[in-house]
Symmetry: C2
Subunit: 502 residues, 2 copies
């Protein structure tokens, strides 16, 4: 049977075709089935969907497919049902409690990278791995396949290092200080960062306030070779594309298996050609990892898998029960970091953490025996700020910008304490939600400024938290969220009293 | 923010709205997120998708949503992000190895029935139950919730019985003989049947050759009360709609957890108000259940769950390694069954099975001590055929039709044996695929006629299998499939020889 091609306005990043319901029945197709489409000498396999967007005798292709395969409307296409890819069977094996072979894992990851597997099939992969678990060998094959099915940076010379955080903690942008410190010492650090998914700002979002982060793999290599470091958005590259697709489905399922988190981190490190990697694991109430025990086992897996893949990994458990800085949201965090760099004082939790992570890389690569002193000297001398400006300039930003000049939202609202006492707890989830409701990360100037940290003495009327927004309606939303939750808990000295008569 | 409503041509049976990418980002939405839409005094929760089908400032609703909520284009709608339904958390609990409470299961099934959960969330439910497993109590709650969230038939008087097969075996339409036999004896049998999903013909597809099967629940009740029995398509009713949705996702995942198969069967029985149920479990190579051991445990679960739900269930393991009749495909099977009824001879595997199943119901309800003799008498007297004609007439069919008059495809091709020998194996999967390629079940006249069964003596040149199709191109497809597979294996007496020098 031949069908007339029609381009239809469907959003799709994979090969999808739509057929009229009656043609689909004629071909014996059900939703989720795949067809082989032959147009002239070209052919591709696509998932078939059914709709009345097209009439009987027509086949609709989304513009992505039309462009990728260079198809013209009015061409005639032959359509045949084809069976599911083999990789679906391999996933089935894991569901039955089995183990993937190296070849099977490679085939699954390749099919994910090439958009051959659909979201339901990817969800089966995620859930099987979450429930049944994966051996270290399986994770190793997964990472190798992720890297193979993507672009890779290779440097001709230099010691290539990297740094990552597993994230989840608001106001944790220490890497914007650590990366230029590391680069100042002559190491090459091609850092890729993520944008916020459920948080108020990812490192890429914050960096974007100061410079362009949508860099190609070629630009990342060039800038790193030129100034020693880069802070780019990983999503703009094609490093480990399978990982990006898996993460998108994980978000919808609200599930992220531990082995996948490890695969995600290490595949990005391998893809950027890094050899020495320092990884931050914040541990604390409300963070992604809540207990030291879980953190330790996570850290050990990272180190062991790094070893299997030829990477030297240091994983560090860090304080994760409250924000490191005071600012949450892209503009506010960029302002805070730049202010800290301008002040050159190491007496700040963000600086302390940044220098500790730079120190680890200095010691791992043998650049210094006392890495922290070495890093501190660089920072206090102003070299970190100077290198950061070079990186900003290389990424097309305004290298002369001062902290004061970074704009933040002009619609503000401050929440004050109702009582005297001590700030007892900062609810990380609530802080995130308030900042997101205010517009972060899309509205760069939106976010939250935290006036009191845990242990701070608070008087009635003292400001606890200021919300910044660019739009009035978003400020209103954020205030509503702040009222429903208790972002900062203030309690008096007396917590509970027993045995006192009323 | 207010958005202008626009109806868009999207196929969707659930509440879905589409927003422009930039508006979605403004609202902080990601694919799969849900929004509350307020239009005047009406409001509904929908899943948000992003597309350029609508411009910024517009919100697209599919026609299903527009009709259900009686929305007009050009109305203004308010849109707010809302969190995921609670039932997603309960599914998460099972993924972590936990157990559902009765309330949690009820909430999950209700959300599936009402289309609140999306396909990815339903896939998490299916996979968690498949891998972690379910207790009998959990399955009981699942079935109860499925029935509560659907329509139910209630009869004022009479003994209500039912019959089902777990399916998977081609040419197994014994129920078209058993149901009128049972109804002849004065029992009420409101049978709902399914259409083929992966097979060449479901009982509903075959019955549709003779009568209308798209009956409402009210019609099923009326016809059953009038003539004693009915054979209707379950999908046209709204009995246990959650089951229909779960099955649709299971098809795409190629996974059907055992507890779900049980829930599917028993919820349909409860929904039709049945008290005594006889269930067929074909066991054999290539059938859904391949070993007696698995069949026994399945049968025990069915009986025990029936007991919990107030149903008296008999589950029977039957020969499932080859087709019962010779015909595969709706028209061919209807023709074969009607011919058997006209011939009135009990010397036929399909009749033998049908009478055995009728006998079980006669003995369960106390209608006869020797159920088989009783059933045989009914069949041989011609009462079964007479009742079948009454049922056909009540369902709007031509009660006078004769087997000879049922049309089958006029494009045919016969595969003959290349050698002398014995028919050793019938490949059920291959037979199904050939019949489907030929056009079954959509083309009623398409299918396959099997000339030789297992153990039959075959001479070179003897016909093994005839393919029937309505369209030439489908016949060609079917021939191609038949050539690639070996639907009927013929082997000589000598299978393998060892130790003979060449």
């Amino acid at each position: 049977m031949k069908y007339r091609l029609k381009v239809v306005p469907l959003r799709s990043e994979k090969f999808t075709v739509v057929l009229n319901q009656s043609d689909a029945e004629d071909l014996g197709l059900l939703p989720g089935d795949r067809v082989k489409v032959i147009v002239g000498k070209e052919s591709f396999v696509a998932e078939a969907d059914f709709t009345n967007l097209v009439e009987s005798g027509e086949i609709g292709v989304c513009s992505f497919t039309a462009e990728t395969c260079r198809l013209d409307e009015k061409c005639m296409a032959e359509v045949y049902p084809v069976s599911r890819p083999k990789s679906v069977e391999f996933i089935r094996k894991k569901l039955d409690g089995g183990k993937y072979s190296a070849v099977e894992m490679k085939s699954i990851i390749e099919d994910i990278a090439k958009n051959v597997l659909n979201d339901l099939e990817i969800s089966a992969f995620i859930l099987a791995n979450e429930i049944v678990g994966m051996s270290e060998e399986e994770v190793q094959w997964m990472i190798e396949a992720m890297v193979e099915n993507g672009e890779r940076i290779s440097f001709e010379r230099g010691v290539i290092v990297n740094m990552h955080t597993i994230g989840g903690l608001p106001s944790n942008e220490f890497q914007l200080i650590a990366v230029p410190t590391v680069a100042s010492a002559g190491l090459l650090i091609p850092k890729t960062a993520s944008r916020a998914i459920t948080s108020a700002s990812g490192t890429a979002d914050t960096m974007e306030v100061l410079a362009d982060v949508n860099l190609s793999i070629e630009e990342i290599r060039e800038i790193t070779e030129k100034v020693g470091g880069v802070i780019a958005w990983g999503g703009a590259t094609n490093i480990a594309p399978a990982d990006d697709r898996i993460i998108r489905v994980e978000y919808q399922l609200e599930i992220s298996p531990r082995p996948h988190a490890i695969a995600s981190l290490l595949s990005k490190c391998l893809g950027t050609g890094s050899k020495f990697v320092s990884i931050d694991i914040p541990v604390g109430d409300g963070a992604k990892i809540e207990t030291l025990e879980t953190g330790r086992s996570f850290a050990n897996s990272l180190v062991e898998l790094g070893r299997r893949l030829g990477l030297t990994v240091t994983a560090t458990l860090t304080e994760g029960s409250q924000p490191l800085g005071n600012s949450v949201g892209p503009g506010l965090e960029a302002k805070e970091i730049l202010g800290i760099l301008e002040a050159r004082s190491a007496e700040n939790p963000l600086v302390e953490k940044a220098l500790s992570f730079a120190a680890i890389l200095f010691e791992m690569t043998g650049i210094a025996n006392d890495g922290y002193s070495y890093a501190k000297k660089i920072f206090e001398s102003g070299k970190t700020l100077e290198k950061f400006r070079e990186i900003i300039a290389a990424q097309g930003g305004n290298e002369k910008i001062k902290a004061d000049e970074i704009p933040v939202g002009d619609k503000t609202f401050t929440i004050t304490s109702q009582r005297n006492g001590i700030a007892k707890k900062i609810n990380l989830q609530a802080v995130n939600e308030i900042a997101r409701s205010a517009g972060a990360p899309k509205d760069k100037g939106a976010g939250v400024y935290i006036h009191k940290k845990r242990g701070d003495v608070v008087k009635a009327g003292d400001p606890l938290l200021t919300i910044y927004a660019e739009k009035e309606w978003k400020l209103d939303n954020a205030i509503e969220v702040a009222r429903a939750e208790a972002p900062i808990v203030v309690s008096g000295m007396i917590l509970e009293v027993y045995g006192r008569s009323r």
